[in-house]
Amino acid sequence: MIGVTPETRTARTLRLRLPGLTGHRAGQHVDVRLTAPDGYTAVRSYSVASASPGDELDLTVEELADGEVSPYLVHQVAVGDQLEVRGPVGGWFVWDPADSSPVQLIAGGSGVVPLMAMLRAHAVADPASPGAAAPFRLLYSVRGPDAVYYGSELDALARSPLVDVTVLYTRAAPAGNDRPPRRLDAATLMQSVWPAADNPAVFVCGATAFVETVADWLVLGGHSPARIKTERYGDTGTRP
């Protein structure tokens, strides 16, 4: 581990150098295996947040109150420590720079992590690749301003005419926000995303209930199920 950046009170980004790694695809995850002195091991999957082409990658880890691995990664592991990492893996929930389709990203809370990798990959994509000119929208549903990851970088990315970022606050909104905090509903969702007629590539990531609900609304709203890719952080166990 070569660097660490706090994101919120309960999340931080770990920068890892993986000797031999030659880049990864935006949206992939890695498995982190921790081994205790007595040989006990625990494995969890974490999405890659970065889009760097070389042998470094960032993981943003949210501490779960009942987590086994995440508290260690958020509070204990230090720059210079070694971690056992497998991956990056996954060939489905990935953005392909060869695809010129408009892209709709929909994040619930810490589900923004793999979607951030896609935004970053888009920003650094080879201008000759079809995806470099693809318009991106991110709809980011989050508890409150203190829970937002990558806030200033998202502001900077949104200055591109190709990138639109909408943050919806569910419990506490910042001063001056014109929308009172409330949960995402179907009408707000459909107003915020690319119309189904534009046939966007849709990526939804968040807690299971969030992803289930959003994907159902999108299908009811006319989006093709075949265009909607989902990644769920299960209610317990999947990604503590």
């Binding site: 081994t35 091991t41 625990a42 086994e68 204990q76 971690l83 489905w92 289930e212 299960g234 166990g237």
Partner: protein, 197 residues
């Protein structure tokens, strides 16, 4: 032993012989799916087994429920590292469904409503090792867990237990299904940690 993380002790149940390497217990029932949940009513549901000669064996929902039913209690292991012990299911054994099927094939591809596929060797479906399950914990299987019915092959990682299953296709040669084409192991034995290629 891998790299030891100083200060990490873990909270898992060590020495639990039911827990494959790298897995941890969950009391919930997490969901892992690649896309939206298909909504299939029992009226439109059917299950087929298609042989290498193109012969199709077909069951409607009513015909399927009229077959002998098994109540099974099994441990399940998801590749994302959770395991759930002693889960309760009700469904039809694949042995029952294959009784009248003539085939020389050794491999199968499970096909699901919504387009999901996964490959399972025929040997792993027979001999009391696999079911088409339609109840979980005494209740009809919910759509997000694969209802109306899913394949249940508990001795392999759970992505092999295809949700919303609609048929099995017999194959002469093994072919990758959906996750197997996307970085996951062709066989998926949790005891050998066959997670990825």
């Amino acid at each position: 032993m891998g790299i030891v993380s100083p200060g990490f002790f873990g909270r898992g149940r060590r020495d639990d012989p039911a827990l494959p390497p790298g897995q941890h217990l969950t009391e919930g029932f997490p969901v892992l799916s690649a896309g939206p949940t298909p909504r299939i009513t029992p009226d439109e549901w059917e299950f087929t087994i298609t042989t290498e000669t193109g012969q199709v064996h077909r069951w409607s929902w009513a015909e399927f429920l009229a077959l002998p039913q098994d109540d099974v209690s099994q441990d399940i292991h998801c590749v994302t590292s959770w395991s759930k012990l002693g889960t309760s299911w009700r469904g039809v054994s694949l042995d029952t469904l294959f009784e009248s099927v003539e085939s020389d094939c050794e491999f199968t591809m499970a096909h699901s409503y919504g387009g999901y596929t996964t490959n399972v060797p025929l040997d792993d479906l027979l001999g009391g090792k696999a079911w088409i399950a339609h109840e979980f914990d005494g209740e009809p299987l919910e759509p997000e867990h694969g209802g109306p019915a899913r394949l249940l092959v508990p001795h392999l990682y759970f992505w092999k237990s295809a949700k919303w299953v609609r048929g099995l296709e017999l194959l002469r040669q093994d072919e990758p299904g959906f996750w197997e084409s996307n970085g996951y192991h062709m066989y998926g034995d949790p005891w050998r940690e066959e997670r990825y290629w």
